[in-house]
Amino acid sequence: MMHTLSLVSVVDDDESVRESLPDLLREFGYAAQAFSSAEEFLSSEYLGQTGCLILDIAMPGMSGPELQKELARLRHEIPIVFITAHGDESTRPRMLEQGAIDCLSKPFSDSALLEALKAALGAY
């Protein structure tokens, strides 16, 4: 068990993701918080404590990449792992190019997620 729990925040408009992913993250040994929109995350107290952000790309309101830009503007350098339900082969390279740690297509395996988190938090 880690000494200080790293906080992983999940931002996704899909309820089943918000429900299931934090439990898995806790099983991995991270602290987890879920938010249903970019706006909710930006206004929350967890913004400053988040060590890694798992971020859905397509959401109503502010999209994932828009949130990424907003965070950069606010100088919050949080490593981001994007997740998406649009299995487009051009998406992942584009996201990596824009500074994401990884981009996972839904559904993704727990090991793929764990790899990405390790990379994110190691890089932090």
């Binding site: 899909d14 089943s16 993701v17 429900e19 299931s20 992913l21 439990d23 898995l24 099983e27 997740i83 339900a85 649009h86 299995g87 487009d88 082969e89 051009s90 297509s105 839904k106 559904p107 993704f108 395996s109 727990d110």
Partner: protein
């Protein structure tokens, strides 16, 4: 093995834009209508320049009805204004003086700029050309080509109909003018004679002074004795000849009548006096100033109550103007004959009973018949056998209606080739409205027919592409809908496993995550049920389908990709294949999906030949089978069983939906879809479905076996 979904979004967007462009062009298709043709063409050019990002679009229309050629041009703003003729000159400098020989595609310098040119001829016999230019080296891409071809077809159709309309107008005007001239002249003259004669005869009854009679008549008139001597003349006669009555008594010796007409006048006069019958003669009389004018001379006897001839009355009507008009008419008729014989159209006339009496030289040359052979009903030997009864029926209807009418039919040219013509007949009526003659014009519409057909084919292709495209859209949307709950299932199940594997196991947590797994799985099934309902709403249309024909269309849609991927395609479409009962579009979606799978699979190989064989044949127990064989990397036996499961894929990006949907379509057709590894490389996917119980075989069995070489898809020798 691979399954398609990637890139659907982007490609669909392109296709939709392209379909939209084609629709816009078709909506702007010129009609060739009177006075608006060039405006319509300008509008279309303007649109093409914007839509296809052209530097310029130039059109030249030549027409055979005698008007000069006209040129139009539209340019991109970067080119600025340039007059059509200027650009025409520049193009001729670069591409050659004879625009009919311009190469369809080349890159050259125009006005000092390196430009890619693409030209399309508007008609097989040099009716015009459409030339477009772009600075881009890859111009025109395939879709630009298709857009421009559709536009050129539209122009071609409009040009032909514009020309045809003007040919009709020319003929109609000439016929009307000639008819009017003839009617007016003879009418006037007849009325005048009747009126004068009535006046004279009414005076005669009173047997009064001769001079009184002659002075009462406004036209030149002479009274002769029963023996034929001039007795009295009226003032108009004296004024005209400038001679006294005494001199006029010797009219035959004083050049009053033109020497050339004198003999015929004297003999007509003698015959009348001997027989006592009225006479008529046309002769030239010398006016006082020495000028001869034509007169119509009408002499008739005046009798006493016993019936004896007492005097002759000779009316002289000045017909100089009529004669001149007649001469003019004759020369205009000669002109008309010239026009009619040199018109590049088949001109004819027929009697009221429909039998033909006249054909212009062009007609006779065209069908290779003499006038004698073509007359009456002889011309029908040149009409295509299949069109003859329809044409005869239409001709009968036109005659019954006594109104202008038209009908299309094929005519045999002297060399034996048949071309489509529009037969058009216009009635010429007398005053009572009875048809006295039919005038007809047959116009060659072969080019128009071809252009129309090409246009129809293009439209059908576009419509079909749009329908088959929805397969890709559907696949993408299913993939997205399903991946959401699927993501929950995977995550929950992973969590559940981890909770159970912990020491001690977290049983309540595992139970909760397992419960969520089931819930998400149910959610996924609900989505599938919804999608299935969506499918079912568009209930498959069951019709007899020719699988060979359906396959050819799919192959045509895939030609671009086949060429790009360098695939050697062979088709072995079985002759006399029974029709199947089913939904043509759905079956084509399956075929397209299998073709795309095979292409995707072969993308993985680089050094071996890429070969695809599409085969149709009769299967066992009244089934029809279609197989698509590829030379891709293939798959192992374990994979075969899972291939058709939804979401199963060996392709890194695919979602595995295409094959499972394909299989459900085939199962809906009471058929089977399966895959077998080849002996050598690759896989063969096959489906078989029951043949149509009506047991009709495919109608089009031309090219039953062959390879596609026409579009750069070439078969290895």
């Amino acid at each position: 093995m691979v399954v398609t979904t990637e890139n659907c979004g982007e490609e669909n967007g392109d296709l939709q834009r392209f379909t939209g462009d084609l629709k816009k062009i078709l909506a702007r298709a010129p009609t060739g209508g009177k006075g608006i043709f060039s405006q319509e063409l300008s509008d279309l050019l303007e649109m093409l320049v914007g839509m296809l990002d052209l530097e310029f679009a130039y059109v030249r229309i030549d027409d055979s009805i005698g008007t000069e050629a006209f040129e139009l041009v539209r340019t991109a703003p970067s080119w600025g204004a340039i007059r059509p003729h200027e650009l025409g000159c520049l193009l001729r400098e670069s591409l050659g003086q004879d625009w009919r020989r311009w190469l369809s595609r080349q890159r050259t310098m125009i006005a000092g700029r390196e430009t890619s040119i693409w030209c399309l001829q508007l008609g097989s016999e040099g009716g015009g050309t459409l030339a477009t230019g772009s600075s881009r080296i890859e111009f025109p891409k395939e879709r630009q080509q298709l857009c421009l071809s559709v536009a050129a077809n539209c122009m071609k159709v409009a040009r032909v109909s514009n020309e045809r309309r003007r040919a009709f107008e020319t003929i109609d005007q000439e016929v009307a003018r000639r008819t009017q001239g003839i009617i007016t002249l003879s009418e006037d003259q007849r009325r005048e004679i009747v009126e004068l004669r009535r006046v004279v005869e009414s005076l005669r009854v009173r047997e009064i002074d001769i001079q009184l009679i002659v002075d009462a008549i406004p036209a030149p008139l002479a009274i002769m004795t029963a023996e034929g001597e001039v007795e009295a003349v009226n003032r108009p006669v004296l004024e005209y000849f400038g001679n006294s009555v005494e001199e006029l008594k010797r009219w035959s010796t004083i050049d009053a009548v033109h020497p050339e007409d004198l003999q015929s006048t004297i003999s007509a006069w003698r015959r009348a006096v001997e027989s006592g019958e009225p006479y008529e003669v046309e002769s030239r009389h010398r006016r006082s100033d020495g000028v001869y004018r034509w007169f119509h001379v009408h002499g008739f006897p005046l009798r006493d109550t016993d019936g004896h001839i007492v005097r002759w009355c000779v009316l002289q009507i000045d017909i100089e103007d009529r004669k001149r008009a007649q001469n003019a008419l004759r020369s205009s008729e000669r002109n008309l004959d010239l026009i009619i014989n040199s018109l590049p159209a088949l001109v004819w006339s027929a009697r009221p009973d429909g039998s033909a009496e006249f054909f212009n030289q062009y007609y006779l040359n065209y069908v290779g018949l003499s006038l004698e052979a073509a007359q009456d009903w002889g011309w029908t030997t040149a009409v295509h056998r299949d069109d003859l009864s329809d044409l005869a029926g239409a001709w009968q209807e036109i005659m019954n209606s006594r109104e202008a009418g038209e009908k299309e039919a094929r005519l045999r040219r002297f060399d034996g080739t048949y071309r489509w013509f529009l037969f058009r007949a216009n009635p010429l009526r007398d005053e009572a409205g009875n048809v006295v003659r039919w005038f007809g014009l047959n116009t060659d519409i072969e080019d128009r027919k071809r252009a129309e057909e090409a246009l129809r084919n293009t439209q059908a292709k576009v419509a079909h592409m749009a329908r088959v495209m929805t397969m890709g859209e559907l696949t993408a949307s299913i993939a997205h809908e399903i991946s959401q709950p699927l993501s929950g299932i995977v995550t929950n199940a992973s969590t559940c496993l981890r909770m159970l594997g912990a020491d001690p196991p977290n049983a309540p947590g595992a139970r909760e995550t397992a419960r969520r797994t089931i819930r998400d799985a149910n959610r996924a099934s609900a989505i599938i049920a919804r999608l299935r309902a969506l499918f079912n709403r568009k209930a498959p249309v069951s019709r007899p389908v020719d699988l060979n024909e359906a396959t050819r269309e799919v192959v045509a849609l895939s030609l671009d990709r086949l060429r790009r991927d360098g695939v050697d395609l062979r088709t072995e479409l079985s002759k006399g294949l029974p029709l199947v009962l089913g939904d043509r579009v759905q079956l084509q979606q399956v075929i397209l999906n299998l073709v795309q799978n095979a292409l995707d699979a072969m993308n993985a190989i680089d050094h071996e030949p890429r070969e695809m064989i599409i085969r149709t044949e009769r299967g066992e127990s009244n089934q029809v089978r279609l197989s698509i064989q590829d030379s891709g990397p293939g798959f192992d036996a374990v994979e075969v069983d899972r291939l058709f499961d939804a979401f199963y894929t060996t392709k890194c990006e695919g979602m595995g939906i295409g094959l499972s949907v394909s299989r459900s379509i085939i199962e809906n057709h009471h058929g089977r879809l399966w895959a077998v590894p080849n002996d050598g490389r690759g896989v063969t996917f096959s489906f078989s479905i029951p043949q149509n119980p009506e047991d009709v075989t495919s109608e089009h069995d031309f090219e039953a076996r062959g390879s596609l070489t026409g579009n750069s898809v070439e078969r290895n020798p």
